[in-house]
Each structure stands twice: as structure tokens, then as C-alpha cells.
Symmetry: C2
Subunit: 358 residues, 2 copies
Amino acid sequence: MRPTSLDLSIGQPSLMPDTEPFEAATQWIREHGCPYPPYNGLPELRAAIATIYGGRNHTNADNVCVTNGSQEAIYLAIKTLLEPGRDEVLVVNPGYPSYPRCCALEGIACRDVKAQARDGFRIRASALLEALRPETRMIILGSPANPSGALLMQDDIDELARELTNRPGPPVMVVVDEVYRELTYAANPYPSMADAYPYTYIVQSMSKSCALTGLRVGFLIGPEDGVSLATRAHMLMLMSVSVFSQRVALEIVRKPERLRAHVPWYAAQRASMLEAAAAGDVPIIEPDGAFYTLVRLPERWRNDSLGAAHALLDEQDVVTVPGFLFGSQGEGYLRVSWSADPTSVRDGFARIGRFVQA
Amino acid sequence: MRPTSLDLSIGQPSLMPDTEPFEAATQWIREHGCPYPPYNGLPELRAAIATIYGGRNHTNADNVCVTNGSQEAIYLAIKTLLEPGRDEVLVVNPGYPSYPRCCALEGIACRDVKAQARDGFRIRASALLEALRPETRMIILGSPANPSGALLMQDDIDELARELTNRPGPPVMVVVDEVYRELTYAANPYPSMADAYPYTYIVQSMSKSCALTGLRVGFLIGPEDGVSLATRAHMLMLMSVSVFSQRVALEIVRKPERLRAHVPWYAAQRASMLEAAAAGDVPIIEPDGAFYTLVRLPERWRNDSLGAAHALLDEQDVVTVPGFLFGSQGEGYLRVSWSADPTSVRDGFARIGRFVQA
């Protein structure tokens, strides 16, 4: 990467956050000091988050633990709800690499289930159900997913909930990473697993919707007994989440329209990205949500997305993420972010067009 | 505990923090947004912390990982530097209960070494050295310690460093929780294990020195290879620490006199606490540091500090922490905090005097 490079690799918003919540939180510190918050988070914040994201099944403050970003919520679910040597996790391929890495850190077996390009890499309930084994105790998926932007669709939610409910043995937990939920363009209302299935754990965060990746406020939302187990480990791991960051989050959920304030900007970005991809003849997986798209590489790079990413940088000075990092199904693709400024995105897709057509 | 109760159980400062660093951090957010900080923390903050707390051995930014409070630093040291089933940890009795609990969470064997009341519960190098077994790989202690306020003294540091250095086999790591280091009254300069022994890990935080328990900024400071291992787990556990909190911490270390701004207040508190204890004929362990003291219970409560804490609440409406929670050597004592306002502390010791003399 050079100083001149067009960076379309970034995994965070380029928008600036609203600073009013920071000013309100600073005022709170002036009045109250900076004391320990409760281990599991501010009650008012947890109650609001349960209402917004808990679906039909997780409606109370005690269904929520405030975590240090969504990363800690994922880690806690894996660490505290599963037993090494006994339980197995299913993840989607392609998918966010942190899920299998957290499993590896905790000694939890993890197997992947392939999503198909012909489905826009949307994971199908049938694929997940076929992959189940007696030892499978958890399914982790993103919706919208990173890197594909694919949603878990309502039909698949219904089928998954029905079949998992009817399955004998201990319940299979479903962890849905919903950090890009606000940035969903293809389905309305958002298809919520938490509405359909009581053993759902939702992972949320303020990072993407509000351009606050550095705030480190996330949420684990789920059945009370599981959230309470997770909270006990959370307390020993790091005590609690910054009371300042939680006050910022509380200001946001008190005016929940703030969670969707950036949506029109992203919708416009997506439209102009689709236009630029069409203009440059760039073959892409059209994303349901988030701010990424997968660009399909030409035949000569089909087994070498790393080489393609290097060549694209050399030849066109554009930075992207090679798809193999997200699993074998990501090989043959580049993940291109369209959260940069509109000019960079347009220019970037023109250059990618020249690269894939060369 | 009643609304009227005098609360001398608290484990955090009653002082208000300086809010100037919060205003500067908010200004930074206005200018830069709220992006992901580096996994291991802001380089400038890490460099400053190494200079202030790293001693002779850990002087570079890469000797530091910024953690979510000192709690995460302790947890990371236990989780990432030891192997379950092989390694053993020594902790001091009485001591902070989180150390053995974090060991238990990670399946690490933990054994305690008794500090003696006749030494003011200062741990002696000889006691630690006698307790070593071939499988002992880490010693964790607080200096000043919670609950006793006892320091690890310079003579013991010298002996420990010399004997551990001469010991054959893999080095024994020494983790020193220095969160109360700024609040040291009995030794000057502060006796630093990191100066004497290269396999020292220092745990630090902004919580106690700056009345910022809710900020959740701590530090693991140690050999680069160990800190780098810890950082990898830290990244998967929670990605990074709030960039806002780190900017607040950076403002503080840029004017490091801020770290000691509250010291005169605590020194005066300690003097008036000692006076009140003497006036009320309350037998105490005179603390070297921190803001606690251990009150020795009369014979009838010698084996029931929990009962004593309840009786003290019933009879005199004072809240304290029963010593047994800090290990068997804490039995027969109450931990009394003197970080509350001066009037409460004076009044509290008068009431405790009536209780122990009754």
C-alpha cells in the first residue's frame, strides 16, 4: 500500500459520528465522576437494547450483557456456552474469520458449511441442517454477513427454527452477528432469528450503524441463563465496559432514530457502487447489506485471490482484501468495501474494471 | 445495608476526576471520528506508560498492551502465559480474590502462600521461595496489596530476583499488580520488581490514581514476547480498548503529575484514619499504601468475619468487607476502606471502636 493508493479494504465507516452523545457523556462525568458501572452494563441501556434488538424472545434488560464491542460478545458465547472436547460449532464459508479463530483459542471444534455463489452466498437452512451432527451445539453466522453482505432470509429462518425446535437432544444455539443489521437494503422488515427461535443469541454493536468502531460498545442478547453465564466470565475477564462509552450508547438509544441516521447515505453509496460496477463491467455479488461486495475474479486468478490483490495494487493502485481469508468459498473473489468517499468508490470500481477485463 | 449506613466497604475513590482530559478527548473525536485504535493500544500512550512504569527492563512501547482495566491485564497474563495441567501459580493469602478466580476460569492450578499479620501481611521473599515447586511458573501479588495495603519491600525484591534468576529450569514469572502504586505512603522511591527482574509483568491502571475506575484503561507491561502473546488473545477476545478512553489516558500521561494529583489528599486521609483508629482504640494493620486497612476483630469474632460484618452493620450501621473473602489469613479481620469523605471515615472508626470494645 502506497500513500497514493485507493483503499477499498477498510472495514469501518468513513462517516463522522454525531458528537452530541460524547458531549452529554462528558457532562455526566462532570456531575457523577467516572465510577464502575455494573458488570453487565447500565440497566437503562440494557433495557433499551432488549427492546430494539431482542425480538420476541429476549425482551428484558437481563437478556443483555454489555460487551467490549461485538468481538467480546462472540468470544463470550463461544467460551461460556460450549464445552471443549464435547461440543462443535458450525460457521458459514465464506464468513468472518474471527468466529473460527475464537473457537480455536478456546479449543472448541469448528466446521464450516459452504454458502454458494449462485445464492449470492446466502446461507440456506437446508445446508445448515444437513451439516448438523449429534455434537453440534452452536451455529454462528452474520446477517448481513461479512464479506458477502448476504442476509439470512425469512424462509430460511422459518425452516431453521422449525427443524431445530423439532430436533431431539440438547438445543442447538444460533448466534447471529447483527452488527450490520441497520445497513440492510434488500429486506424490510429485517428477518430476525430472535423472533423465531428462543435459543438465539444476538450479537450487536454501535460500531457500524453509528460510525463508532472505536467506542467498543457491543451487546450479547439471549436467554437469561446463557447471558448470566457469559456475564460471570466477562466480569473476570475485564470487569465491565467503560462507563463513558456506555453513556454515549445510552444517549444514542434514547433517540433510536440515531441508529439509522446513516442509512440514506449507505443506500446512495450502494446505488452508485452498483452503477460503477455495471459501468466498469465488474462482476460482483450484489450485497443485501453491510458495505462490502465480493468481486468475482477472472479465470487466471480463480485460485489465487492473494496474487490478484497484489496485482491489483501493483497495476491499479487499489487496496482490497483477498477472498481466501474468509474461507475456501471466498477464493476467487476480492472483498471490496464501498464505505469510502463516493469519488474513491467510483474511481476504484473503474480501476477494478480495467484489472478484471485486462 | 440501609440508606443511612456508613459505607466503608467501597473499592473505588470518592474523589471526582479531572474532566479536562475528557474534554480534550471529545475534541479529538470531533476532529478524527471514533475509529478502531490499534489492537495493542495507541503507540504514544504505550511509550509513555513504558517510561513511567516499565522500570529498567520494559522501556519500549512494545513492552505494553493497553487492556480493558487491570482486570484484563491479570486475566491475559494467566490465560496466555501459562498452560493448564502443567503450570502452577502462587498467590498471596490474604490477597485479591480475582487472581485465584481467573486461574480457576482458565483451569490453571493455583496455590496460596501465607503472609503473616506480624509482618503487616507483607509477603516475604523467603515464604515465596520456600513454596516454589518445579511446576510453579508464575507468582501473582499486589504491591500495595488489596486488602492489606502491604508493599513488596526492596529487600524482598532483591532476594526474590536473585534467587529466581539463579533457579534452574524455565523462568518463574512475577506478576505485580501495581494499581495502587501511586498511593504509597511508606516507601520512597517505590520498590519496583520490574527494575530488578526481567521476567516481571506489571499490571497497571488509571482507576485508582486518577479516580477513573469506570474508564477501563489498564496496562500489561512486560517482556515483548509475552506481551505479544497476550495481545493476540486480547485481539480475539475484544479487539481493542475504547479509543476515547485511551485518548483520556494519553492526556493524563502527557502531564504525568496528574497521576499523583490525588496523593496529598490520600496522605491526609491516612493520617486522620490512623488518628481515628488510635482514638477509638481500633486495632489495625497499618497500611503501606492503597486506601484500605485491616481491622483485627476481638476473640469472639476471630473465626467469623462474616458474622462480624453483619453484626457491625446491625449494631453500628457501618458497612465493611469480611476478611475471609481474601483468603484464610484474612479471617478474623474486616477490610475497612478510608477513601470515603473524611467525616464518614472519622465517624466510622469511632463506631468500629465501640463495636470491637463491646
